[in-house]
């Protein structure tokens, strides 16, 4: 690429002009001005370099205005649904029915010092064609109440028909189950049980390649009025 040597400005028509007098600015088109500016730095800066610098500036400026900040998970509005609404959670279709508080219901739920039990009755039906472990309800239902031990593995799930620990829920068959949470008896009994229901997807874990119910996604909130039982 050859550059026009400074000192002989050329008008578009090709005619040369008289040399500039001192202090007199040349009349040049904007394009000529840009070209002149480029000419001054063209030995250092190539189009590629300019591209890289522009991109870097764009990244930095984006960062300055918050483009690289962690995006908070969008707290979408989770709809509140009535008790008795069937909810598709992934492993089961869950219908939350009633809630109770009690100091114990023998023989399944033994009274113990300092403990109270919050009980939710639900109907579950395994989706798909295979049995699903009923205690997977722990992964799709969350109870908010004061005095619950957040680290304990809860709730414990029993069958309503015979009080046995719930094993697997069968497909196409609705089983009524009783979910029992332990609460410190020093905490107050809430007037309603606030239950958040999540939906999960059956997918391969990126950690070990096995399939699990993963990616909890809240789909509904249910408020069940709590009836106090107190039948030790």
């Amino acid at each position: 690429m050859t550059h026009p040597t400074p000192g002989t400005p050329e008008t578009p028509s090709g005619a040369t002009r008289a040399p500039l007098a001192e202090g007199e600015a040349p009349e040049s088109t904007p394009l000529e001005r840009v070209k002149k500016a480029y000419d001054l730095v063209s030995d250092v800066v190539s189009p590629k370099t300019i591209g890289i610098v522009v991109a870097a500036l764009a990244i930095i400026v984006a960062g300055l205005v918050g483009g690289w900040d962690t995006v908070e998970a969008v707290d979408k509005d989770v709809p509140t649904v009535e008790a008795g609404t069937p909810l598709a959670t992934g492993p089961f279709e869950v219908t939350l029915l009633r809630a109770y508080s009690t100091d114990g219901i023998k023989p399944a739920i033994y009274p113990a010092q300092g403990k109270r039990y919050l009980v939710v009755v639900a109907a579950i039906k395994a989706s798909g064609t295979e049995p699903q472990w009923a205690n997977q309800l722990r992964e799709v239902i969350t109870l908010s109440a004061p005095g619950l031990d957040q680290k304990a593995i809860q709730p414990t799930v029993y069958r309503l028909s015979d009080g046995k620990i719930a094993g697997q829920a069968q497909p196409s068959m609705t089983t009524e189950v009783v979910c029992v949470w332990e609460q410190r008896s020093s905490a107050p009994i809430p007037p309603t049980a606030q239950l958040r229901v999540d939906q999960r997807s059956w997918r391969q874990s990126t950690l070990d390649g096995s399939f699990y119910w993963l990616d909890p996604d809240p789909i509904a909130v249910v408020h069940l009025p709590i009836t106090q039982l107190d039948r030790p």
Binding site: P131, D162, A166, Q170, P171, M173
Partner: protein, 198 residues
């Protein structure tokens, strides 16, 4: 800018085409994994013994009730408990049959089973001595007709691939038999596993 000559361009196109063709071929050919994981299935019918690597198994009787129990415990279901009487003769070493891993498979593909709410633990079956167990399975009445038992040769190992050998035993339940079974209400007492004399 790379000055792509005609040769370079052609080479790139050829490589891409070869990769695409290779992709299509490998997608259609059976993979070693799929072949290695093909199950070993033995088909049989009610009353017919099936021999697998862990022993010989036969389903001798089918009963049903909404209530089953042991001496200590009773379970009730809103559906039905199908109770299978199974004869197990282990071979090679003592065996606990896969009573939690077995499934009753309905004609539409639904599978029923898993750890039942009450059970009499079936096993250990001594090699050479036939052990008779009663195994309950919770099921819906509409799944009975045409159902079959899928019994794995052994319980699932904690580590390692799932069991790949099983028996598919047709329980021989016709639509009429299914209706009759569904109507039964007498509670069934699960007997302790017993050794069948010769």
């Amino acid at each position: 800018m790379i000055r792509a000559s005609r040769e370079t361009l052609l080479t790139i196109l050829l490589i891409v085409a070869a990769l695409a063709v290779g992709n299509v071929i490998t997608a259609r050919l059976p993979k070693a994994d799929e072949v290695a994981n093909l199950p070993f299935v033995h088909t049989a019918a009610l009353g017919v013994p099936v021999t697998m690597r862990t022993g010989t198994f036969a389903v001798t009787k089918v009963d049903a009730s909404p209530i089953v129990g042991t001496q200590l415990d009773t379970a009730v279901t809103g559906g039905l408990f199908l109770v299978l009487t199974v004869d197990v003769t282990a071979s090679g070493e003592p065996l606990y049959p896969a009573s939690d891993d077995l499934r009753i498979v309905a004609s539409d593909g639904r599978e029923f089973g898993g750890r039942p709410p009450v059970r009499e633990v079936c096993g250990p079956a001594q090699p050479g001595l036939t052990l008779t167990c009663m195994l309950p399975v919770e099921i819906t009445p509409d799944a009975l007709a045409g159902s079959r038992l899928r019994l794995p040769a052994a319980n699932r190992d904690i580590v390692g691939p799932g069991e790949s050998e099983y028996a598919e035993i047709d329980l021989g339940i016709s639509a009429d038999a299914a209706a009759e079974l569904a109507g039964r209400t007498t509670p069934i007492l699960l007997a302790k596993p017993t050794v069948k004399g010769k």
